[in-house]
């Protein structure tokens, strides 16, 4: 029997690699830079933000509530923070980690962030205690924008009245600001929350609070599988398609959203993630997966995104 656990681990690694490769390939040719934004972004600030809540969510996520007045008041839906990890136990993490703002509570002067414990940085971050402070910089990047009458398109001359939002894993966080905006603007929001299992779904309580219709889908019962999810969404929306689709958390979901958008004539916006050091555009570390002339630098995830248009490549 020796070697069996090692062989099983190798097989799991192969599956993981194949899944990651397929997810990355799903974005090929899909990402497009959006037209100029119609309102200025808030100026980013850095702040020593006290940790008010730091709790376990599901099996491998953590939820942070940070007191940071300016960011809570100014952040737009889909923007993100750079969060450095304080040194502890001899572990030094040099680079801050980019994390989406999950919820904004301007009246309390707080923001919520949910992250997965994955590598050295997030493992060390999970040890930060309530009462400590994190040196956050934000709000950063270009977030999601609902189409409105100020930028009419051929298919959508009117402001968005309905939106379909699709989030998987911690990718749900990037879209939750838009669920908040939808509640504020009276836009009908249907939110697909995807995860490994019911216990690992992020955003159920938030969507209930914000009055959004939720479609929970999970890997363990097969409901998150692409053909099943695609068929279900076509059944729900083909008669009355949403005015916009927002997606984050998986390349394959972005592609599905782009396919649905093409069928329904609805614009699709996708939020991407990338390794980055500064979050402000000067380190040039986060090249977006957009094929460009080799002599010209392509868009950066941090300042040109993280939200881009997702458009099916012309076959």
């Amino acid at each position: 029997m020796t070697g069996t656990p090692a062989l099983a681990a190798l097989a799991a690694l192969r599956r993981q690699q194949a899944f990651a490769a397929a997810d990355e390939a799903a974005l090929d040719g899909l990402i497009a830079v959006r037209p100029p934004e119609r309102m200025p972004r808030p100026d980013p600030v850095w702040d020593d933000a006290p940790v008010l809540v730091h709790e376990v969510v599901g099996e491998r996520y953590r939820r942070l509530v940070l007191a940071t007045d300016t960011i809570a008041t100014t952040a737009l839906a889909g923007q993100f923070l750079m969060i450095p990890v304080p040194p502890a136990d001899g572990e030094r993490i040099l680079l801050p980690r980019p994390m989406a703002i999950h919820r904004r509570h301007p009246e309390q002067g707080t923001v919520e962030v949910i992250y997965g414990v994955a590598g050295r940085g997030t493992t060390a971050l999970a040890d930060v205690a309530v009462g400590e402070s994190l040196l956050v910089t934000g709000p950063l990047g270009r977030g999601f924008e609902f189409p409105d009458a100020a930028e009419p398109t051929a298919t959508h001359p009117q402001p968005a009245r309905t939106a379909l939002m699709i989030g998987r894993g911690v990718g749900v966080c990037a879209i939750m600001g838009s669920v908040e905006d939808a509640a504020r603007f009276g836009i009908g929001a249907t939110v697909v929350l995807s995860g490994r299992s019911r216990a690992n779904l992020i955003g159920l309580a938030d969507c209930a609070e914000l009055g959004a219709t939720v479609i929970p889908v999970t890997d363990d019962d097969g409901s998150s599988a692409l053909p099943a999810l695609g068929a279900r969404l076509r059944g729900l929306f083909t008669a009355a398609p949403p005015d916009v689709i927002l997606v984050c958390g998986a390349g394959v979901l972005a592609r599905l959203a782009a396919e649905l958008g093409a069928e329904w004539g609805a614009p699709v916006q996708v939020s991407l993630e990338a390794h980055m050091a500064c979050g402000l555009g000067y380190c040039h570390g986060c090249a977006a997966p957009v094929a460009t002339d080799p002599a010209v630098e392509g868009p950066l995830v941090c300042v040109d995104g993280p939200v881009f248009d997702a458009v099916l490549p012309v076959a």
């Binding site: 702040d47 940071t68 040099l94 050295r120 050091a277 380190c283 570390g285």
Partner: protein, 324 residues
Amino acid sequence: MTLAPPRPTTDARRAFFDARPADSAAVDLSVRIGSLTLANPVMPASGCFGPSLGRLIPVTELGAVVTKTVFGTPRGGNAAHRLTEIRAGMVNSVGIPSRGAAGYLAGQHPLYLALGVPVIVSVGGHRSSEYAPVVRDLRGAGDAYELNVSCPNLDRHGTDIGSDPDAIGKVVRAVRQETDKPLIVKLPVLVSSIADCAQAAEAAGADAVCVANSVPALPLTALTRSPILGNVIGGLSGPNIRPIVLRLVWLAARAVDIPVIACGGIETADDALDYFSVGARAVQVGTASFGRPYAMVEIKRALQERCEGVAAADIAELIELWRA
């Protein structure tokens, strides 16, 4: 779109801006680089600063800013991933995207100028003949030029110009024909003799050398042992390279009379003072700014306070006092 109404806020950034100390009449932090006098010796490392960071910190407290390296013709930069963090530090293979000299002048230079401190324009090339045309095309923009002969992640994975004293001499002499402004030569880590390289720069007319750049490195993923970076090889930076660069700065400072600007893993005023104590006259801060945007300003303020604390007139006297 309406958000909650604005109300008084107390973000830590504003408090930091408001805490700007008065310039001390008793402490002189200034440093001369050729004909250029910097108010203090703290500046960013090329590639680790941009005008967008200038909005987050009181940048007028810096001695200078240094631009991302400008090449003669546009470059797109390397494939993703362009950076990662491993236990040893940050590794980047950004590949220096550049819009070329004309693109820099039109797009970036006005933003740097508006910062209100001397602008040191970093200039790059793939061959020793390529530097002078870039400086010519910059048409006098910038207060000084830093000649980047040491980026470890360009096309040939090489540091070929910066490790060859003859090539360094060629670059400096050619650029000197184009400008009277101060020239700084940014040297690499991997050289057989940093003293020979620094002396070659000095003999050819450079006004300072910057020692050093990131350390060529190859980070692998933990699980599959495959390269993390799109370019395979990148440059290691952060506090772990400090002892390596300290040695180089010590050797270079003994070899030349022109100022040595230290660059390698500086995070605090103490780190900067390590470098000053082995002969550096100015410091560049890179990786530290990513985690703490105000690191450079904090270092400058702390250097002034350290001098004031023991009534030292300047950093040299502060170091003498310790050793007396």
